[in-house]
Symmetry: C2
Subunit: 137 residues, 2 copies
Amino acid sequence: MNNARFPISLHILTLMARNKGVLLSSEHIAGSININPVLVRKEISNLRNNGLVESKEGKNGGSTLAKPASDIQLSDIYHAVQQASLLGNSRNHPNPACSVGRQINVHLDNLYQEIEGALLRKLDKMTLEDFSAQFED
Amino acid sequence: MNNARFPISLHILTLMARNKGVLLSSEHIAGSININPVLVRKEISNLRNNGLVESKEGKNGGSTLAKPASDIQLSDIYHAVQQASLLGNSRNHPNPACSVGRQINVHLDNLYQEIEGALLRKLDKMTLEDFSAQFED
DNA sequence: TCATTCTGTAATTCTGTTTATTACAGTACA
DNA sequence: TGTACTGTAATAAACAGAATTACAGAATGA
């Protein structure tokens, strides 16, 4: 994960989990995270495409969880924001004339996949409810 | 890991593991990775500070492994290049007036630490020798 | 001894990515 | 019908990573 999107999405979802059934505006969420509301709306758009939140447009609109927090694994959030590889974003173009350069990306990919498996098994074990229950008022 | 440093360092060390006892120049290594030699020297400098490689200055100089590849765990390399947190680089400053904003960094840190533990247990199991033995000539 | 070939580093520039900002159409409510 | 939202595109600003330039210092060997 090469970006700050995971913590942002988790922050958004935690706010929603702790405000069950309430429509939160992007402005309000942005105020808690301290980032720009447009970025919040972009993240919410992504979470919505992944079936984690639902939104209502217009006055008094906003977004809320699309299903109970106990039905959302942290691995679901990871998958929703995940795009590049975990370790280093293999944007490298090693020299194919070198035997190491030619083969390293394959072996790196295998390694990353194995590591990501271990990570996902961890994230599978925790739900959004577990995470948000840690917060005190 | 937010950067491409892990693959670069692993590439460097793989080249050395496959050229045991030979002093490799930064120019030569840079040619295989296809990056700038100065960046290679920077990474080597870091690996040297972590006791993984040793260098010789001057004409016919270069760098080589400081110990057998079988004594270098991939977790050693991870620690050597590691600086920021694994997931997202908590450069975030959430709103302390919000109960979620106030507490989220603590809970994120705990989560990251747990995940990183799982990752390290994986990387602990593989040595540089294991990794470089996968390469064909 | 001295030219050569390396490393070690600092400083600067270049480039790509991320984030903020601006703008505005569309939707729902009251 | 005005207000308060979302959704989204386009642009600008900020930042980080990498390349490049520059040069001092070290080892070699002719």
